[in-house]
């Protein structure tokens, strides 16, 4: 038994040791230098947010945010490695260095800016609203005060929905659970990003649902980097790439390719940044 224990421990330590890299040390704090030295850009993303970020059976990540991340890594000349993050750990992973860039449908809010830095321009935007059954014919938010809705844990709009709109929010770990809960009748609606609801409504599965209420608090999403990277070459390189993707329409194309109706924010950004000559 002793030798088996020792064997397992040694194997584990060896596996860890192999990921040590002396080369990265000469870069100091410069994330861009470290990423290029390692040849890998570690990007944190969710894995349960169809079609922005989800999994294929072979374990790889797919989705619009995955495509954006892959393009950024290609431009930097490195490989993209995606790491699954949850709302419980995404900012901590970034701060600790487990990921260098976070593209995980995070809304750019003042509270979060105290912990991480968001890269500007923002790459996406959404407001929040409710996916309601067609049987519910409310047109004003006030009509639904006191009703229970299902949401995902960690969403920034859970608190305002409860405090300002008077809804009772039942939060679950992921979107699969919220759907299952709603079908069981534990809540009357799904509280989500309006773009995600649009995607759902284009699926015949949700033919009996609609989105009658006006979207609230349209808040841009941001890619997050560590605060030290905000004004450093790494953060600025990402900023430039996002601006370029708005400008040449890549983001609009990626959105369409994943079955999402072109959102107002992306159209607006493309118009604002596009070439004035060509």
């Amino acid at each position: 038994m002793m030798s088996l224990k020792a064997l397992v421990l040694t194997a584990a330590l060896a596996a860890i040791g192999f990921s040590a890299s002396a080369q990265a040390q000469s870069c100091g704090d410069d994330t861009l230098c470290k990423v290029k030295a390692a040849g890998v850009l570690k990007i944190g993303t969710k894995d349960d947010y169809v079609p922005w970020s989800y999994r294929a059976p072979d374990g790889s990540f797919k989705g619009m945010e995955v495509d954006i991340g892959t393009k950024i890594a290609e431009t930097l000349g490195v490989k993209a490695e995606f790491v699954k993050v949850t709302s419980a750990n995404r900012f901590e992973f970034l701060a600790q260095g487990q990921i260098d860039l976070m593209i995980a449908s995070a809304s750019d809010t003042a509270e979060r800016r105290k912990v991480v830095s968001f890269v500007h321009p923002n790459y996406y935007s959404s407001g929040y609203t409710l996916l309601l059954p067609k049987a519910v014919t409310a047109t004003e938010w006030s009509q639904l005060s006191g009703q229970t809705v299902c949401a995902v844990q960690g969403a920034w709009y859970n608190k305002p929905a409860q405090e300002e709109l008077g809804l009772k929010v039942q939060a679950f770990a992921g979107t699969a659970e919220t759907e299952a809960a709603m079908t069981q009748g534990r809540c009357i609606a799904l509280l989500e990003d309006d773009n995600q609801i649009n995607v759902r409504l284009s699926n015949p599965k949700w033919a009996d649902y609609h989105k009658p209420l006006p979207s609230q608090a349209d808040t841009p999403w941001g890619m997050a980097v560590r605060q030290s990277d905000h004004a450093a070459p790494f953060g600025l390189a990402i900023a430039g790439m996002i601006a370029e993707m708005h400008r040449d329409g890549s983001l609009l194309e990626m959105e369409k390719a994943h079955g999402i109706a072109n959102s107002a924010f992306l159209i607006k950004m493309h118009e604002a940044l596009k070439d004035h000559i060509n």
């Binding site: 519910v136 299952a180 069981q184 009748g185 534990r186």
Partner: protein, 252 residues
């Protein structure tokens, strides 16, 4: 006085220790609700699991047929699979095929709330462990007690319920305390099915206010207090039920 407490914690926040639950009314409400739900979960599940455990132990001792086989299968299943997966299975898988009632608005209304599913799952999980505990307790009662009862004309069932069971209970307290402490800690798993217990509300609070470390410390302290209370209560019950002169039987 409340405003004094609130100001104290607000000042503390500016110096780095951010405990919003003490100065933000909304967070305070949420937190108290979470604590209340945790306490309810512990109480109801503990009672149910003791009943289930005692009942199943009785079945295993008294019969050897179909009922005993079912109990054995139940224990094997619930002790060898993770609680969180059991809860997911109950809530999402079984919950999705249960008949759904309709409320006044004509909207679907589930027959069993998430809290009830959590209680059911926790009780069944802890009940399986309690069954083993009570069985060990029954095994620790020396045969001579049962034989004496039978010699006095008690039937087998009577002997069990009147003589063996009360003695077995006294033997089971230490192990029962263990199981109930595990149950107390296990209530955190109900977070996964949307029950607003302590971990769930703490997660929401630290998602909004980004004070993860502070909230984790608060939770740790609260659970230590809760488990201490459970052990204390069991010890008091044991002391109250102690039979003078009745020991563990191997005092050579």
């Amino acid at each position: 006085m409340i405003t004094n407490i609130q100001t104290f914690f607000q000042d503390l926040a500016s110096s780095g220790i951010n405990l919003t639950i003490f100065y933000d009314a909304f967070d305070f409400d949420r937190f108290v609700t979470g604590l209340g739900n945790t306490l309810l979960l512990i109480l109801i599940s503990a009672l149910l699991s003791i009943v289930i455990g005692a009942g199943c132990a009785a079945i295993l001792t008294l019969s050897n047929g179909f009922a005993a086989a079912i109990v054995r299968g139940y224990i094997a299943l619930f002790r060898n699979t993770p609680l969180i997966v059991q809860m997911y299975f109950f809530y999402f898988a079984i919950g999705s095929i249960m008949p759904v009632g309709r409320n006044e608005l004509g909207l679907p209304q589930p027959l069993i709330s998430s809290f009830s599913w959590a209680v059911l799952s926790l009780s069944l999980y802890s009940g399986a462990f309690n069954t083993e505990t009570f069985r060990a307790g029954i095994g620790a009662v020396h045969n001579s007690y049962e034989e004496a009862a039978l010699a006095l004309g008690y039937g087998k069932r009577q002997a069990f319920f009147s003589v063996t069971a009360p003695l077995a209970l006294r033997f089971s307290f230490a192990s029962l305390a263990n199981n109930l402490v595990d149950l107390t800690k296990a209530t955190t798993v109900a977070y996964a099915v949307g029950v607003a217990e302590l971990l769930y509300v703490s997660n929401q609070i630290w998602s909004d206010s980004l004070n993860t470390i502070e909230m984790m410390n608060v939770m740790l302290v609260i659970y230590l207090v809760l488990t201490g209370a459970v052990v204390f209560i069991i010890n008091r019950v044991e002391a109250a039920m102690r039979l003078p002169g009745f020991g563990l039987g191997d005092g050579q």
